[in-house]
Every structure is written in structure tokens, then in C-alpha cells.
Subunit: 345 residues, 2 copies
DNA sequence: GTTAGCACTCAAGCGAATCGAGTGCTAACC
DNA sequence: GGTTAGCACTCGATTCGCTTGAGTGCTAAC
């Protein structure tokens, strides 16, 4: 037995209905709501076939059918109607977006909350991420008598800052001179490389040995964890409005997963270089998420760094709507980060 | 009728028990578990009195009593045993804390997750906040041919950064010179004041008019919202483990309140200058939180800025434990931010 | 003032009965 | 052969009544 056109249409109707209502859908519903000129009995036969093919599951014998992960996969891959991409609310909100851009973090926070508001699911936004950020400028900014702020500008545009202690009195001109030397020496190198270059400089620049030593420690400590990326999350509470999460225990595990941002980031980030990903249920590879789906899209910055935006929802997700929203938001962010610069005019 | 010593003792026992178990407590429980040499009948009479005095509520006639907000207030104010302040787990974790301090945001994020892990409630940490941050250093760091990063160090230690566009080619020495001039001129002033000073400078420094104009816009845009503070939250999912939140709808409103960080910040921040605050149920002034309590403490930085740490839990909260944890964590943060500087050695 | 005793209340838990949505199967129909 | 009407059957969900037991309030005796 194999899929024919009619089975496809029926499957699609079932999925559409289930996505809409969230309750198992029966044969009568299909034959009445979606008029395909077939009686419920015929639908029933077809549904039985579809179940045998692995596209439908039956929670218990006297309930309707629900789509399996395999069905959603098929749905997303081929039979989803890609819907009206334009959405009024989206347009307005996305306009509201432009022009209030401050720092990177604000942007991705905002993006997450906009996406979650539009989709009514949980949204996650990861900042742009390159392979290895390369240093562009190093500058020591005096903060107090005995402390300076280290500002490192990398090509990702990300700034790491933290204070280090100054050995003795150093005026701002001295600091500037050191900054210049450092910039000259380190520009274009990664943090890890910088840690290899510095010892040489320490040898040469005797008078500032102590300061440089401090800087060395500073870099060394950060070279591994590229300043743990700020993960923006929005709409976690949305999930609780779906019957899938009326079980509090389930909700709790979901929420605590959302709280461990590192883990979440690695889940969302994905491995491939795909611009658009849809992972359904078990495909997520996360045991806690067997009945969730994750849709991700990417955006990029002027310097070619890639960021990820993702939506997490129940497998019964409005895939087409989510995908179109992610699509538009991806473009939006790409424009924002590469069109102008990320600042005010 | 008024409170006597015995009533106090009984009330305390009731509250202790209710905090522990979460179920209405009956007269027999008190007379047996907490031996006060009285029969359940006597306890019953006293409980009836306590109810009349407004310290106890009765969910329904044949259930035990639960403490009212007034009872918790009394409990916190006078009859709480301030418990063993030292906690083994706390010691270990707080040690684990020291020595991994990076940026401010990391610190408060970390603090929130530590507090929530220890208390099993929801923790909120607000960054140090002064009345009006005063500028200490202004520095323009070249990022690319036509853009520079504006780094402003204020006495709060908070850095605001964002890129602005550069008019023409400007080498880093020029930028440094301008930075020096700006620092000299603006040091000690608030952002708002800076916006009044700048026009004068623009007049004088003709050649860099365009750049300064950009900077002016930059400051103007930020002077109102002091870079919306980063609010750290931890353990929102903890709340779902309490029977108080087995109702999903309740949980949802709570969580969505936690998501609107601005609102949350203003709730936590409180108005007074109290070092320690306990707000119980309706005292929070937030309708969504009638059956929550909020305990806050403060910490301070070297420059005297005050930050807030808070715990949100059910009214049936382990007040003494929470307070001692907040107390210790407050000292911890104060040490961290004022003892050394917030960096590595 | 304290306590034992007792009648009373009421949520929670349990099981039987009912309901109804939905299926699978068979036989008739086109 | 595919489609449909009809019917018996299944099983979760709902309802109803019953029982249980924790807990109270009151009264009378100590």
C-alpha cells in the first residue's frame, strides 16, 4: 500500500484540524468540515491505512487520530500551504521595531519578545556568532586611580569589558600609549593567539610588565568561553496556554530547560549551516522535548556573522505561520545589522 | 480579647507547620506534634480566638486553619526564630561564587541562579543603581573606517556602549584627543547635564562638529532611560513545584509577570531605602501577587550605589531561611563589588 | 480554665452508571 | 472494486451517590 493523492488530502485535513483544535480528530469531522465528497466510512478506511503507514497515531481505540511526527515531517516538507506571508500585525510591529535600536542585547531581547508575541509560542534569539572573533582594537580606559576598563572590540562587534587593576599611578596618556601598542600588536588575532603573543611583549616592555601580566590573565581567562553569549528568550509563559502543558510537571521541566540558557543555546544553535530548520518532536534530540518542535532561521550581520532565531512550540504548531514570521524577522534583523550600522543616525 | 503569650506560641506553631506542609493545620496536629501540654480542645478554643483576631483563616468549616497575611506579618516581625544562619550548602556555593567574577551581568545572573537554587523560590537581582550616574570617562574607540564605539564609564561602573558613525577618515590619535577633551569637559556630570554642555563644545570645536553632533544625538537618546537595567531572574520554574501553583492559569499569569522585566524591576526595587523588606501578599501592591510574598535585601558597591536582591515565593514562605540567605548573599555581593574590584587579579 | 465527648460539616476519594465520540466490520450499493 | 449505510463495540470523560475522615463547635463535667 502506498500514499495516493486522496490520502494526502485527508492527511492534510487531519493535520490542519489537529493544529487548530488540539484534540484527536475523527472521521466524521473530516468528512463534514472539509468537504471532500466522501463519507465518514471511507475516510475511516483511509485513516486506517494512514495509521498503518505510520502517519497517524491513536491515543486509544475509541478516540480520533492524531498526526505522528512522520506526518508533521511530510506536512512541513510538502503539503503545507505556505500561507499568506504578509500579516498585518507583523507589519505594524516590525515597523515599531526599526528606529529604536540601541545595543545588540536590546535588539535581540526585543526580537524575542516580538516573535513570541506574534506566534504565541516561545521564542529564542541567539546573537551573531562567528568562528573565532578577531580583535580589532584594544583600549584601556581609566576608571579610577588604580583600575582600568579593558575594552576589546572584535570584528563581531561584540565588546568585552571588565576592569583590571593598575599597578601604580598611570595617567591616561600612558594608558593610551599602551593601548596603541597593544592594538598594533594584536589586531587581527584571536584571543587564543593573543595569549601567545603577549608573553613576548611582556619581555620587551619592562616598565609595564605588571599591567601586561594582569591583562594576560584577563585574556587567558576569557579565551575559552567567548563571553557566554546572551540568549534572549520570550514568551515562555505562552506554552502554558496550550493543553499539552496542562500537566504542571511537564510544564516545570520545560521551563527549567528554558532557564539553563547554555543548554538552550546549544539546542537552538543546531549544527548545520541550514538557513531554515524544522525539527519535530524526537528530531530535536532532546528528551525533554519529545512533544515540542523547534523552528529556526538565521540572520546575518555585515561582517557575515550568523545569528539564529528560533521558535519552540508544541509539535502541533502552526508551522506555516511560524515559518513566515521567522522569515520576515530574519530579514528584518539582517537589514538592521548589515544595512546601516547598529546605531542611531 | 487580646493576644497573650500562649496564643502567640500556638500561632507560631501553626505558621511553622503550615509553612512546612502547605496544608491547613488542625488543632490535633498542634497539640500532638508541638507538645504544649494542652489538649486539642483547648487549642481549638484558642484557634477560634485567633481567627476572631484576624490571624487565621479557615478555607471551609471542616478544614484546619491557615495563617492570614496579618499572621505572617506578625511572624516576620516578632515571633520568627531567626534560625541557624549558617547553612552548609550556602557556604560551599558562595565559595564557588568568588573568583569567577567577570562582568557585572554575569555576576547578577549568577547570583540570581544561586539564590533560586538555595531557596527553591524565584530570585530576582537588580544591578546597582544610583540616583543619576555621573560620567567618569568618555572614550571613542575606532571600530572600522567609518564607525567608532562610544564607551562611557560612569561612577556606577556601568558602561554604555554603542557605535556612532564617523564623518570622514579619522585616525585613532585624533579620536583620542577628542576623547580627552570630552572627558575633561564632561567628567562628573550626568548624562542630562552633558546634553546641555555639548552644544557649547560643538560651537568651539568646529572641525569635529559633525562627530560631536552625532555624539549629542547619542547622549540625548539615552539620557532618559539609563540603559534599561539588566534584570537577572532565576528559578521561575521553581514556583511550579508548589501546590499553590498547581492551577495552570495562576502559574501562567505569574510567569508572564516575570517576563515583563521592567514591571518586575519596579516591583522589586521598592520605594524606600530599607535594607531589608518583607512584603506579604496584598502588601506587595500587585494584584497578580496576592498570594506571593516578596523579600528583598540590598547590596552596595564601592561607589555607594545600591542594588537589590529579592526572592519571590508563596506567602507560605520559609521566611527565616530566605532572609538569612539574602542576608549572606547581600554581604557577598557587597564584598565583591566594593572590597576588591570586580575583576581578576 | 481545661478537657472529654459528641454531633455536625464538608472536601476528597471511590465506584457504578451513563454518555458519547469514534472505530472496525459487514453487507449492500453503484 | 470502490463507496456507503448501518450497527455493535470500546473506552475516556462525566455524573452521581456513598463513604471516609479530618476537623470543628459546643456542652457538660472535672
Amino acid at each position: 500500500m502506498e500514499m495516493d493523492d486522496r490520502k494526502m488530502k485527508i492527511l492534510q485535513a487531519i493535520i490542519d484540524d489537529y493544529i487548530l483544535t488540539g484534540v484527536p480528530v475523527g472521521s466524521r469531522t473530516i468528512s463534514k468540515k472539509y468537504d471532500m465528497g466522501l463519507s465518514s466510512a471511507t475516510i475511516r478506511n483511509e485513516m486506517s491505512d494512514l495509521e498503518e503507514l505510520g502517519y497517524l497515531d491513536q491515543p486509544h481505540v475509541s478516540a480520533g487520530r492524531i498526526p505522528s511526527a512522520k506526518a508533521y515531517r511530510l506536512y512541513v516538507d510538502s503539503l503545507m500551504k505556505t500561507g499568506r506571508i504578509r500579516d498585518d500585525s507583523l507589519e505594524t510591529v516590525s515597523r515599531h521595531f526599526t528606529g529604536r535600536v540601541h545595543q545588540m542585547e536590546d535588539v535581540i531581547d526585543h526580537a524575542a519578545s516580538v516573535i513570541s508575541a506574534l506566534t504565541r509560542y516561545t521564542a529564542v534569539v541567539l546573537p551573531p556568532k562567528g568562528k573565532q572573533p578577531r580583535m580589532q582594537t584594544v583600549q584601556l580606559v581609566p576608571v579610577s586611580r588604580d583600575a582600568a576598563l579593558v575594552v576589546i572590540v572584535t570584528d563581531t562587534g561584540i565588546v568585552r569589558d571588565s576592569t583590571i587593576r593598575l599597578p601604580g599611578d598611570m595617567d591616561s596618556d600612558t594608558l593610551y600609549a599602551i593601548s596603541r601598542a597593544l592594538t598594533e600588536e594584536l589586531r587581527g588575532h584571536t584571543l587564543a593567539e593573543a595569549c601567545e603573543i603577549l608573553p613576548g611583549m611582556i619581555q620587551r616592555m619592562r616598565e609595564n610588565q605588571e599591567l601586561l601580566q594582569g591583562l594576560y590573565g584577563f585574556l587567558n581567562e576569557r579565551k575559552e568561553s567567548p563571553s557566554r553569549p546572551h540568549v534572549a528568550i520570550g514568551g515562555t509563559s505562552n506554552m502554558l496556554s496550550y493543553p499539552e502543558y496542562s500537566d504542571v510537571e511537564k510544564a516545570r521541566t520545560f521551563l527549567s530547560l528554558m532557564e539553563t540558557r547554555d543548554k538552550l543555546a546549544s539546542i537552538i544553535a543546531g549544527d548545520g549551516e541550514m538557513a531554515f530548520t524544522v525539527r519535530i518532536g524526537p528530531e530535536t534530540g532532546v528528551p525533554e522535548m519529545v512533544d515540542c518542535s523547534i523552528v529556526t532561521a538565521t540572520y546575518s550581520t555585515r561582517s557575515g556573522q550568523q545569528g539564529t532565531i528560533g521558535v519552540i512550540g508544541p509539535t502541533r504548531m502552526q508551522y506555516s505561520r511560524v515559518m513566515s514570521i521567522l522569515n520576515i524577522m530574519g530579514h528584518q534583523l539582517t537589514d538592521l545589522f548589515s544595512g546601516g550600522d547598529d546605531s542611531n543616525e
